[in-house]
Symmetry: C2
Subunit: 420 residues, 2 copies
Amino acid sequence: MKTRKLGRGVAVVGVGMSQFGAFPEKNSRDLFVEAFRDMRGSVDKGLDPNDIEALYIGNYSSDLFEGQGHTAPIMADWLGLTPRPATRIEDACASSGVALRQGLLAVASGAYDVVLVGGIEKMTNLPIAEVTDTLATAGDVLFEIPAGFTFPGFYAAMATAYMHKYGATPEALMKVALKNHDNGALNAKAQFNSTIAGVMAAKKRSAEKKGRPIPTWADEMEFLHDDRANPMIAWPLRLFDCSPVTDGATAVLLVSEEIAKQFTDDPIHIIGSGQASDGALHDRPDLTSLGAAKHAGQMAYAMAGITPKDIKVAEVHDCFTIAEIIASEDLGFFAPGAGHEAAEEGLTARHGSQPINTSGGLKSKGHPVGASGAGQVVEVFKQMRGLAGERQVDRDVDLALTHNVGGTGQTAVVHIYERK
Amino acid sequence: MKTRKLGRGVAVVGVGMSQFGAFPEKNSRDLFVEAFRDMRGSVDKGLDPNDIEALYIGNYSSDLFEGQGHTAPIMADWLGLTPRPATRIEDACASSGVALRQGLLAVASGAYDVVLVGGIEKMTNLPIAEVTDTLATAGDVLFEIPAGFTFPGFYAAMATAYMHKYGATPEALMKVALKNHDNGALNAKAQFNSTIAGVMAAKKRSAEKKGRPIPTWADEMEFLHDDRANPMIAWPLRLFDCSPVTDGATAVLLVSEEIAKQFTDDPIHIIGSGQASDGALHDRPDLTSLGAAKHAGQMAYAMAGITPKDIKVAEVHDCFTIAEIIASEDLGFFAPGAGHEAAEEGLTARHGSQPINTSGGLKSKGHPVGASGAGQVVEVFKQMRGLAGERQVDRDVDLALTHNVGGTGQTAVVHIYERK
């Protein structure tokens, strides 16, 4: 695939997200307004909503989750943005990462100077089994779902293939969960705002309160090996290997570089963007890598003119722990088969050599599927500006990356950001 | 809303569509491959599919109609286009008109030189009542659907308001149906490839065959007033005022103007594009016009630097007959309130002063909702090149327009085309 120079530069000047979690009293409109307000507060010199010229909203399936189709203009209406164009983008869990790319191209085309990119998903309305079925439709319903696959099964197949090929252990996967909970514990908007140690302590308190035997786990790894505390979902993936079902919304403000200074003296420039597709999982020669992610990464690196080594902070699509390990290889941070060792050695920790998912990732922050891609931008924006608080990395973040995957990797989208 | 010049020009060099109709033996993959092949055959100098750099696919709800989410990469895979980016665009029945706009902006941005825009909808899998419910989710499920509205009801409310305000009669609506069936009878790919007179003759033959009394309608208008032949759906809309439930797919090939000559010596240039949103119907001050359509039209005219009078052929969104009359006013072809008289006087007929829906429109050609917008481009491309056969208009079509509406008008998108 060719990489071409865009007509003009585009910058991020504001980011926001709703609280992530389970909110029975809210709908996706409420959540998106919450994300928009948060974003608006992040624009240094203020944002007049009238300056927004178009809305691109990533959403996987308000159709199935809320019984609401045609969601984009409703979101525009709820923010008072009508009659501005409102477009929904759907590429499964990559929906708002792809929406970001469409917003980028739309500004680069000259059609708009100011574009709002958002993501929404309200997943907890349905019983969990129906959520699982709804997500499974992001696979191939003719050739995969009739075989009994759901998403934990898809990623378990990838994990099994990866472990077989590279000798990785379940402990490497557990290390990813531990790290992401460590980070999520420092993110007040995360659904699971707790370390694994914190989860253990809470379970001990709960047992004590109920007069049940208090668990005697020696450490986190013993807890993560406990079939009751961390049950097997689809071998080798246990509960803590899986991202949760989440309600949430996210918002990113894109502007043409020429007018960025009207909004901030510290714009974050999008210097690389790549998107790619792939066939369904059942039809791939290899399950230990996502071809679309590699292609999207290569497009983004080529456009940015940089290499993986230049990236200081990356938010990658850890819908399951194995996905983060594979992503860390697909993006070139580690050689094929070396990602699991990197995770075990702590290289991807907040103060490791290649920090990944400082936000807590989808695993701990939460995974409102259509909102997750734009949510990744929230974290890199904060890390690049030094606004990530206790989870701020210990180096200057001049270059960062986001990596958002749809389904089993039929879609992947990668963006690279520069702070000048 | 501001209108800006795009970074570079974009042209249509190929168009195609599947047969429209009800195809229980086909799925949306089959239909899209059929549309793609038809499009490929229309590219004068041939198309190497490897030259396609991205796919934008309009689809309203494969989620609900086929139980398949994440449709875009499946379509890319079925055409052998992976790993090229594949993005689904959803704005209800305007999905592929909006996909066209995103394809246009993507080429204009410099990201791609060659983009495939498509549309798909496979609607007949579900029982008709479920189709109606599925379409109703394009309204507002919090504030409208609980009141009992479905789409015939929404447009019946518009028709009632229009008739009250302007003194229009049901006969004006019937004239739209008559005209569009006249045109559709000349379109071999139309779902209803028959005039109303042809429908009447078929019903007479059927009655004779079954030994039932043969109807004695004097003319088409008597037939259209017959409660048995043309039952009331939602007053004042009868069966023949409504577009059908349709399976179908469409495809349009967009290229940058700089390379258009590689594909054809006769490119059709997109010189105007506008998209707009609106709040839900229940919240509008006036039901006799669609604000989003007026805004989108104004954007497109301003970008093209032309006026409604310059348009020789228009394909407009006649999901119901009243919608065509309102569209003909919203687009400036006729003054507010004059559209119904224009329809009655035959001004919008194939050889009238302002031909509308020479393809047969959604009414007769069929309305596979997510595919309809790109399907409109098929007709204007043919009319502009003089390839519309028996339904070719009697004048040189240097400028044409397409108008695609989502839901009750929460989305509208207008494009203007020039043949140089």
